[in-house]
């Protein structure tokens, strides 16, 4: 068994990520993720207490433009790419009224 990550962790993460993984995939993924996390422990040697996190290469700034009406994507063209549509909208299975 793994030290850093367990199969139970992997099952939980797969649920969060909306990925159906087969039992053998869970096993393999647990071993591989464990190997990676072991490698990533190299950064434990660094003192990062006074370092600010960097989320992107340039300082965040607001970007504004004039509020002018512009054409959007063509509705028919967008819907044509969808797996299932109904009355000009994306069709999905029921969201409420089920237990899961």
């Amino acid at each position: 068994m793994s030290d850093r990550i367990t199969t139970a962790d992997v099952v939980k993460v797969a649920k969060l990520a909306r990925l159906d993984l087969a039992p053998q995939e869970i096993e393999r993924m647990t071993a591989q993720l464990d190997g990676m996390l072991e490698h990533f422990a190299d950064m434990d040697a660094l003192d990062l207490s006074h370092v600010a996190p960097m989320t992107q290469p340039y300082p965040l700034r607001n970007v504004f433009r004039d509020d002018v009406v512009q054409p959007g994507l063509d509705r028919e063209e967008v819907l044509a790419a969808a797996p299932r549509v109904e009355e000009g909208r994306f069709h999905v299975p029921p969201i409420i009224g089920l237990d899961s």
Partner: protein, 486 residues
């Protein structure tokens, strides 16, 4: 089985000049390239889609404009291949993933619009590691691409199809995307020039996102001049991408013959080990060539360089796990029917994504999940800052830095086996630049083991593409004169 590289096709610069003057017809240029594709694509598999009819029609339109005396752009009649993660309106765009098989985008990426304005002719969409996750193109959902120099070996990745297309003469130039080395590494393995510009230099609008704070589009070419020509055409601010840099940038084509006299070329003394001896030998030859051309070699340190792999493989999967949430079977691509939405999402994503994509989504979701965020993602962001600051310090005493692009020459299929970390190490030298947001390029510089191409990587500070290209051009001249010696 081993194949010789294609006979060298004309450069983009030569094609455009002759098409503009009327000395050469764009339709003939396209036919020449389609003939090369016919002859060898079955063996190479550079493309997910060859757009023969559209390319012929676009070429005829260029010829008609030339005949009518109209101005045509700087890439007039130049066949270009696009990595299949760039949206082309009405033309299938797959990211080499089964989850997007058959999807036709309702809009063009900004680079596609700009290429059309410049007169370039899109000849096809190229193969990649699924969603640009990989270093060999073995992770494609539609089968691997083979290296034109030796078809028993990988072309590198993830932009392996775009690199192979240029190396095989299927297109004069091509575009790839580089999140951790996905342009530079395959360029090195296929013996062509590959450039990752400064983050924000080229609009990402219409590039299907992998890791948004790292992704950047750039060119593949057979010459440094052609790479500059393409980058001049696709660069610039775009209102559709709020991270694109507002300032205009100077023409890169104009700086190529300025030489390297007086430039300071940095050698990273604490560079992580791992490069093969043949690669190190070529890097040393590159330092010698630049010294002979008038540059000064200086020692610099980038202490956090060696931690980049860790920071990258936490940050990039974290961003990917968020970006790839949109592939859920609702608006585009594959859907696996199921009685409720949650099980439909999970079944669709399980069926549509390949193993490496699932692995990265899992790693990223884990790194961002409650209880692990601070220990993994949070710390990785701080390591990213260290790397950025170390580079900034290095660029105070050096104008550019020189490193290997890839630790090895092209490797055989299956060589990295079932070990994801072994594959990740292919990007050891390219990843830090993406984290810093700086530009980098790979220039072919001779051959290593088994006569296979070796690339040397040139790194520069933010928006210092002009200096980087000057050094690239100098290395290209040195490689040419070395090659012509008896």
């Amino acid at each position: 089985m081993s194949g010789a590289p294609a006979p060298q096709a004309a450069t983009a610069a030569a094609i455009a000049a002759q098409v503009r003057s009327g000395a050469l017809k764009a339709v003939d240029v396209v036919e020449q390239h389609l003939a090369r594709i016919d002859a060898r694509e079955g063996e190479i598999h550079a493309f997910n889609l060859v757009m023969a009819d559209q390319a012929r029609a676009a070429a005829a339109a260029i010829d008609a404009r030339v005949a009518a005396g109209e101005q045509v752009g700087p890439l007039a009649g130049v066949p270009i291949a696009l990595k299949d993660n760039m949206c082309t309106r009405g033309v299938p765009t797959t990211c080499s993933s089964k989850i997007l098989d058959g999807w036709r985008p309702p809009y063009d990426a900004t680079v596609v619009t700009k290429l059309a304005e410049a007169g370039a002719i899109v000849i096809g969409k190229t193969n990649l590691d699924e969603f640009a996750m990989g270093s060999s193109t073995e992770n494609s959902g539609f089968g691997p691409t083979r290296n034109p120099h030796d078809t028993s070996r990988v072309p590198g990745g993830s932009s392996g199809g775009s690199a192979a297309a240029v190396a095989a003469g299927f297109s004069a130039v091509s575009l790839g995307s580089d999140t951790g080395g996905s342009i530079r590494q395959p360029a090195a393995l296929c013996g062509v020039v590959g450039v990752k510009p400064t983050y924000g230099y080229v609009s990402r609008y219409g590039l299907i996102a992998f890791a948004s704070s790292l992704d950047q589009i750039g060119p593949f070419a057979t010459t440094v001049e052609d790479a500059a020509l393409v980058l001049d055409a696709i660069g610039g601010h775009d209102a559709h991408d709020s991270t694109s840099i507002p300032e205009s940038h100077p023409s890169l084509v104009d700086v190529l013959d300025r030489g390297v006299e007086g430039l300071r070329v940095g050698r990273i003394t604490d560079l992580p080990e791992g490069a093969d001896p043949d690669v190190v030998e070529r890097l040393e030859a590159a330092f010698d060539a630049l010294r002979a051309a008038g540059a000064t070699i200086v020692d610099v340190e980038v202490p956090a360089f060696g931690y980049a792999l860790t920071a990258y493989y936490l940050i990039a999967p974290a961003e990917a796990s968020s970006n790839l949430a949109r592939f859920d079977g609702v608006r585009f691509g594959l859907r696996v029917d199921s009685p409720d939405t949650n099980s439909m999402y999970s079944a669709t994503r399980a069926a549509g994504f390949g193993e490496e994509v699932k692995r990265r989504i899992m790693l990223g979701t884990y790194a961002l999940s409650a209880g692990y965020y601070d220990a993994y993602y949070g710390r990785a962001l701080k390591v990213r800052k260290l790397i950025h600051d170390d580079f900034a310090r290095a660029y105070q005493s050096a104008d550019v830095l020189l490193t290997p692009t890839s630790p090895t020459v092209a490797f055989p299929f299956g060589a990295k086996g079932d070990n994801p970390l072994a594959m990740y190490l292919c990007d050891l030298y390219t990843i830090p630049t993406n984290l810093a947001g700086h530009p980098g390029m790979s220039v072919p510089f001779g051959t290593g083991a088994d006569g296979l191409p070796v690339g040397v990587q040139i790194l520069a500070g933010t928006l210092d593409e002009p200096t980087m290209f000057r050094v690239g051009a100098a290395l290209e001249r040195a490689a040419a004169s070395e090659g012509s010696r008896p």
